[in-house]
Amino acid sequence: MVVDLSSCVRCYACLAACRIEHFLPMGMSWPRLIELETGGDNPTVSTYSVRCNQCKDAPCVEVCPTGATQQRGDGIVWVDQNKCVGCRYCVVACPYQNRTFLSKDKDKGFFPGIVQTDFEKAGKKLYQHQIGTTEKCNFCAERIDVGLAKGLKPGIDREATPACVNTCPAKALTFGDLDEPDSEVSRLIREKGGFQLHPEYNTDPSIYFIDGKIGQVEATKIEDRHQKEPHTVGVGD
């Protein structure tokens, strides 16, 4: 995944999309927004939409004593909730703080003590969140798998693309295959100088960030779409 810092408008849509996609309990958010501001005469704020980096060399996989946290062939790091004992070593060991331990008080329900909404009830059946285990962003692995099974391409077809990427109005998030040199993500990283967070940890994150300025495009004309003959309309005038 590539996150474009210059495009993100800190709208929080990615956070909401993830919550509804995964029926996330109230106290848990897999992605997060970080605002980094600089003062001075020209104050700026950069907003980082962060989530699990799906590190190629993932400390969380390494430290997990049960093998609950594991890495798939495509690089997605996921947690098998049936195996996790909730030791939280991975939570502490993830240098990017992308993991959340689901304790009872994080799953009190949307309206604790008043109602359990229909959506929550349905969620309990459709998506597992076991109290006492640790969770994190899984790059919407379920979505990707369903999409792949239909022969769709992650990052191009929505049904095989993470929910947060789909919903982002600013197109600040781009998804695709890092190993494929022609993919959009590879191109962005190459052309816009993509960087990883804390490369010195040697975790090799699969999320890259790019930063640039708005307004560097010269061509504002789209020639072929230009329409020469204005025609009048029937109604409304």
Binding site: V9, A13, S29, N42, T44, G215, V217, T220, H231, V233
Partner: protein, 710 residues
């Protein structure tokens, strides 16, 4: 496992417009996401997506209620819809018989897709006393654009349909990136930024765009007219204006030229706290790199000099020829179903109705089709109120109008107040009859909002809870009792009626979801065609775009734009400024709230618990305020507290307070309304001469730490 279906519909958790796909399994919504086939391309924001916590909310109003105890005491009794409607009918008929139809006010909050019903209902029963926040929100813009386009709509052409994207964009007092659907959808705008050469942001605060803009003008709130006029000054005096357009299509260029001479960049710099050089630079960028467009924000309309500010900006568009050109400002042609406004404009305002409009004698532009809210409030306070019965559908006038303390007192003097809402907010608490309203996921309706080149369908995905009704049904049923000739057997017939010009029934449209005139179906340069006027021209008395407005002249206003200091400022009220040294501005839309809404939606509340005021760290230090402190903000009208956010991105000496806030979780009737709502501070005595807009975004205040709380 039961039935699972995906329903295409349209979100309106804000002003609305995003296409949504809603998955329903066994009658329960299990998923919402954007519809990739809609014009908004499958994107949705946090508010729309969190609707799932809205429809299932335990505090939803489920049944019609009747007030039992004293007003605001919180004692209610469940009644039937029949009883509710009977009571409303009887009260309205009594009032019409006794005081005339103008004694009935019909109100709504900001546009939520049912505007057409509000207006049609009022007109159908013979009143034009419609109360909307339009005069502090979108109407001044529309009215003044109307002086150019006849019907009042000019939008930034972000679409490239004419073959060109805007090369220079000005985001003027606007956060379209998050206030999406206010004018245009954020997603179209954000897309156009991939093609823009210069982005100019005019805002006293850092916004998500300003950090990365070509030029960011950190202006003193309330002085935007001076900036616009100085930009025109530079453009004219440096000969950068669009000669062809000016010579052939505008009226009054010489007068404008003369007028702007007093607004040199140096003088404007003094007024606006900007650098003269930056003003020149902005003017040149906008005049040279065309086409360009200006996204106007409603902060400019929440000021008592809003009419002239907008006039100045429209003249700036005029001299640069940025009207009707691809990539500039365009009045979109509606789809063949016509404007949804036709649904109410087909019932004209009679001279008698017009005479009854509260405030029409004073605010000739604003109070021509709707009432002037602040005059309504003053009359209620003074005991000479024209309005006796108030039918309020959505909207929290109690907190969105200036000077909350007065508004609360005034509303208590009403004879009868009906309110339709989804929740028990402060406005609902003081009503006599409460009607439960449905959410967009629960209704069948036709939607159109600002851009007006399309209509979209809201398709019911689940049934409303309890006995909640959709607003259109409420209007139709009350309408049938009072003015049957204008209303319909049922909602579906009413929807069919609205679609008839497009040769569609509701059933057809409901499947289609979007009916739009986009791409090549739009035409540009309408003034060069017969569109507005045979032989070409603008639909104005002179047939030209009127830089010098003959319409305003006839109404007794200055035909040329000028700058006017805000009602309260270090310049206009220097003595007051000694006690209240800081500039107060309010507004500051949050991406996850919609005005006062959604503080009761847990997912959205989790993003920001308390209302936040932004203040520069240097200013805060002066007043002993630290990041995260609760701080008092005080004006001559009162004081409120918000959580201080020390933010290097805001102009020193300016305080930005989050507007429209109360605490749904706090006890009624006020729900903490007086604690943090900035309208406790605002002034309803000083209003724009044309529109009556009070100063909500440019005032004076002082701040200090609230010691009692952390």
């Amino acid at each position: 496992m039961g039935e699972k279906k995906i329903i295409k519909t349209t979100c309106k958790s804000c002003h609305g417009g995003c296409g949504a796909l809603v998955t329903v399994e066994d009658g329960v919504i299990i998923h919402i996401e954007g519809n990739p086939e809609s014009p908004t391309r499958g994107t949705m924001c946090s508010k729309g997506l969190s609707s799932i916590q809205h429809i299932n909310h335990p505090d939803r109003l489920l049944y019609p209620l009747k007030r039992m105890g004293k007003r605001g005491e919180g004692k209610w009794e469940r009644i039937s819809w029949d009883e509710a409607l009977d009571t409303i009918e009887q009260k309205m008929k009594e009032s019409i018989a006794k005081h005339g139809a103008s004694s009935i006010a019909v109100s709504q909050g900001t546009g939520r897709g049912y505007n057409e019903y509000t207006h049609r209902f009022a007109r159908s029963i013979g009143t034009a006393n419609i109360i909307t926040p339009g005069y502090i929100c979108h109407s001044p813009r529309l009215g003044l654009y109307g002086l150019v386009t006849g019907y009042g709509r000019l939008y930034c052409d972000y679409h490239g349909w004419g073959g060109e994207f805007p090369k220079t964009q000005i985001s003027w007092a606007k956060q379209l990136e998050i206030s999406s659907a206010d004018g245009e959808m954020a997603v179209w705008f954000l897309d156009s930024l991939k093609h823009v050469k210069n982005l100019i942001v005019i805002d006293p605060r850092e916004t998500a765009l300003s950090s990365r803009a070509t030029l960011w003008l950190q202006i003193r709130p309330g002085t935007d007219a001076a900036l616009a006029l100085a930009m025109i000054n530079v453009i004219i005096n440096e000969g950068l204006y669009d000669r062809d357009f000016v010579e052939n299509w505008t009226y009054g260029f010489e007068n404008l030229k003369e007028r702007v001479q007093e607004y040199t960049p140096e003088r404007a710099a003094e007024i606006t706290w900007l650098k003269a050089e930056d003003i020149r630079k902005a003017a040149r960028l906008f005049a040279e790199d065309t086409p360009g467009c200006i996204q106007i924000g409603s902060s400019l309309e929440r000021q008592a000099n809003c009419g002239q500010t907008l006039r100045s900006i429209i003249c700036l568009l005029g001299v640069t020829g940025n009207i009707e050109r691809p990539g500039s400002m365009v009045a979109w042609m509606p789809p063949d179903t016509g404007l949804r406004e036709d649904f109410f404009t087909e019932i004209p305002i009679t001279p008698e109705m017009r005479k009854g409009i509260v405030g029409s004698d004073e605010y000739k532009m604003g109070a021509a089709r709707t009432a002037h809210s602040d005059t309504v409030i003053k009359q209620l306070l003074n005991g000479n109120s024209v309005i006796k019965v108030w039918f309020s559908v959505g909207g929290q006038q109690i907190l969105h109008l200036a000077n909350t303390t007065e508004v609360i007192r005034a509303l208590k003097n009403l004879e009868f107040l009906v309110h339709a809402d989804q929740f028990m907010g402060p406005m609902a608490e003081i009503a006599d009859i409460l009607l439960p309203a449905a959410h967009w996921l629960e209704i069948d309706d036709i939607y159109d909002m600002h851009p007006r080149f399309m209509i979209e369908a809201h398709n019911r995905t689940v049934n409303p809870p309890g006995e909640a009704w959709q607003d259109s049904k409420i209007f139709n049923e009350v309408g049938k009792r009072l003015a049957p000739q204008y209303w319909f057997e049922n909602v579906e017939k009413m929807l069919d009626y609205q679609l008839k010009k497009g040769n569609m029934t509701w059933k057809d449209f409901s499947k289609k979801v979007v009916h739009a005139r986009m791409g090549k179906d739009q035409i540009y340069y309408k003034y060069k065609t017969d569109y507005w006027r045979k032989g070409g021209g603008f639909p104005t008395p002179t047939g030209k775009m009127e830089l010098y407005s003959t319409v305003l002249e006839d109404l007794g206003y200055d035909p040329l734009p000028y700058f006017q200091e805000p009602g309260e400022s270090s310049v206009s009220t220097p003595d007051l400024a000694k006690e209240f040294p800081l500039v107060l501005t309010t507004g500051y839309r949050q991406p996850f709230y919609f005005l006062s809404q959604y503080r009761n939606i847990p997912w959205l509340r989790s993003f920001q618990k308390d209302p936040v005021m932004q203040i520069h760290p240097d200013t805060a230090k002066q007043y002993g305020i630290e990041d995260g402190d609760w701080a008092w903000i005080e004006s001559p009208r009162g004081r409120i507290k918000q959580k201080a956010r020390l933010f290097p991105g805001i102009l020193r000496g300016v305080v930005m307070a989050t507007a429209n806030c109360f605490y749904p979780e706090e006890p009624g009737p006020l729900h903490g309304l007086l604690k943090s709502n900035p309208n406790v501070l605002t002034n309803n005595n000083h209003c724009d001469p044309m529109y009556g807009s009070p100063d909500l975004t440019a005032l004076l205040c002082k701040v200090y730490k609230a010691e009692d709380e952390k």
